[in-house]
């Protein structure tokens, strides 16, 4: 990837760089002032909304991983991924709340919740593998636009399945996780946030370890870098890509269950909004980079949390505007994302 200033005329290079520095600095000052003023004037609220932000960020991170895993290995923006998350949420409602009749927090229900987590992950993993097998695999060598449009179509198909399954109206239900919270030094901590974050972190650690430390992970990274060379190493490229889709799907399934249990509502169109935000997280962190997706997810969760909940600030109406303004600014000055590297490779 060429650096942004490489083709600019010499004289304007320094001016451009200076302008970048100054505007980034000013933006930084504004953000620090905004957060600092809120922190000093109402510290309890600052941490309360921070915790909400982290909890949402955990969900974004889980979904963002699915985008980034798939992009990393076959360079496809899998638009259907947000809707896969939705199916995970709808599935866990039907399975846990309706089929197993688990409402309210009893010991039995917590056991069933753990069981559903595993089944929802397997459910979404399977769907994702089937989607790749049926729709994307045969388009692997086609021009990039073909799989992209297929992914958009797949998104509509999944949404329609969700619509048929769940109905057009959102369903509200009693969750197993308590929707209460406790107070610590004035900071309000919802139990759901605690559970979501403490379930997400091990999942993230397992995933990153799997990709970086295991034989299967090594096959994934090799396949991502050069498919033919991977074949020459004896790697089954198709199987490796299927495995990658399974991993991304499993994360979406986990996120679906956690969303359903955090908010006590599921709807067929959940995937659009959350998918978009999660995709943004992946891009913000540097698409294709696992740590970047996690960082991006938590960052966007926090930005939204602070923006929506702090007394001094633009407020909830500006939530999306804030997120995307930050994304656009970052893309202009750091097109590869926060952790993405513009790699220079010798040929």
């Amino acid at each position: 990837m060429a650096s942004t200033t490489a083709s600019a005329p010499r004289a304007s290079v320094n001016v451009g760089k200076l302008l970048t520095r100054v505007s980034m600095l000013m933006l930084g000052i504004v953000v620090v002032y905004w957060l600092g003023r809120n922190l000093i004037s109402s510290p309890a609220q600052f941490f309360t909304v921070g915790i909400t932000g982290l909890s949402n960020g955990a969900l974004y991170a889980l979904i963002a991983l699915g985008y980034t895993l798939v992009y990393g290995i076959i360079e496809l923006i899998n638009f259907a991924h947000g809707d896969l998350f939705m199916l995970g949420a709808v599935f866990s409602y039907f399975f846990l709340t309706k089929f197993l009749a688990a409402e309210g927090g009893s010991a039995r229900n917590y056991g069933l919740l753990a069981l559903t987590l595993v089944i929802a992950m397997a459910f979404c993993a399977t769907i994702n593998v089937v989607i790749e097998r049926l729709a994307y695999r045969r388009l692997r060598d086609a021009p990039k636009l073909a799989p992209l449009i297929t992914a958009v179509g797949m998104s509509f198909i999944l949404q329609f399945i969700g619509l048929k399954w769940n109905g057009s109206a959102p369903r509200n239900f009693t969750t197993i996780l308590p929707n209460t919270s406790f107070e610590f030094q004035g900071v309000v901590v919802p139990y759901t946030a605690l559970i979501v974050v403490s379930l997400t972190i091990p999942l993230l650690v397992i995933l990153v370890t799997l990709v970086n430390k295991t034989r299967q992970g090594r096959a994934m990274r090799a396949t991502a870098q050069d498919k033919d060379a991977a074949r020459l190493m004896g790697i089954d490229v198709n199987k490796t890509i299927s495995f990658t889709f399974a991993l991304g799907g499993a994360m979406a399934g986990a996120a679906g269950l956690m969303f359903a249990q955090s908010y006590g509502t599921v709807a067929y169109n959940l995937g659009f909004q959350l998918g978009l935000i999660a995709f943004t997280s992946a891009v913000l962190g540097g698409v294709g980079n696992l740590n970047g997706a996690v960082l991006g997810g938590f960052l966007i969760g926090l930005i939204q949390g602070f923006n929506d909940g702090l007394p001094f600030g633009p407020g909830q109406k500006w939530s999306q505007t804030m997120v995307f303004t930050i994304l656009i600014l970052l893309m202009v000055y750091r097109p590869a994302g926060l952790l993405g590297k513009a790699t220079t490779e010798k040929v």
């Binding site: 074949r231 190493m233 790697i235 490229v237 490779e345």
Partner: protein
């Protein structure tokens, strides 16, 4: 033309293959064989179909017609990773190392299908002895090395699979003359250690010098074949292919 050659059993038998990229036929009715313990070289000008042939043997491409047998088993039509399992490893054209991984990780991937931890360690030492330069760079990202070092890594990586047949596509491409000599010496060493080699080279003269048998390709066809030493002294060949 002389056809005298080693009397060992045929290892790789390519029978009348035709390979096409869409509408463009790159290899037409090519027949060639490699016997156990041989160094066989495939020479010819750019676009003669040498790399296409090697990619087809390794299962990255599939022939439209004809068949390929390895030790009596038909391998044409098998996916690439299964062919590696049978003992054919390739150092491909353009090196194709994994640029964002370290030298060590690249070597590990070369031994992807092997389970014998002790044997892998031994092979690793062996290739690092052959290419001491790689030992110095063992933790470096492969994409940041020089072209010559990357080429050594590509050959070393293919050797990590402990192949019965080692396929080398242009191993001297873009290397400094000193390194070219080193690579050709190394190829002979590898053969002495009992590996059969199929070599494609632009540097035809050097290839003929170390090879036992040679095939000359011209626009996808087999032009002629014969004992490598004799071909290298044939004035007609020298004129047409060796720039003599």
């Amino acid at each position: 033309m002389s056809t005298e050659r080693k009397n060992s059993p045929v290892m790789l038998d390519v029978k009348d293959i035709t390979v096409a990229y869409g509408a463009i036929t790159a290899v037409k009715g090519l027949t060639l064989s490699v016997r156990e313990g041989e160094i066989v070289t495939l020479i010819g000008s750019n676009g003669a179909g040498k790399s296409t042939t090697l990619r087809t043997i390794s299962g990255l491409l599939h022939p439209k017609n004809g068949s390929i047998e390895f030790k009596g088993e038909v391998i044409s039509g098998k996916p690439g990773h299964e062919i590696v399992k049978l003992g054919i490893c390739q150092s491909p054209e353009g090196r194709r190392i994994f640029p964002r991984m370290t030298v060590d990780e690249n070597l590990d991937l070369g031994a992807f299908l092997r389970k014998d931890t002790a044997g892998i360690k031994e092979s690793r030492e062996q290739v690092l002895d052959l290419f001491p330069r790689l030992r110095e760079r063992i933790t470096q990202r492969a994409g940041t090395m020089s072209g010559g070092e990357q080429q050594m890594l590509a050959v070393a990586r293919a050797m990590m699979g402990q192949p019965k047949l080692l396929i080398l596509d242009e191993p001297s491409m873009g290397l400094a003359p000193v390194l070219v000599d080193l690579i050709f010496e190394t190829i002979q060493k590898i053969r002495e250690q009992g590996t059969t080699i199929l070599l494609v080279e632009q540097n035809a003269l050097a290839a003929l010098r170390i090879a036992d048998y040679a095939y000359v390709l011209e626009s996808g066809h087999l032009k002629l074949e014969g004992n490598a030493k004799q071909l290298s002294t044939d004035p007609a060949i020298a004129k047409a292919y060796l720039g003599g």
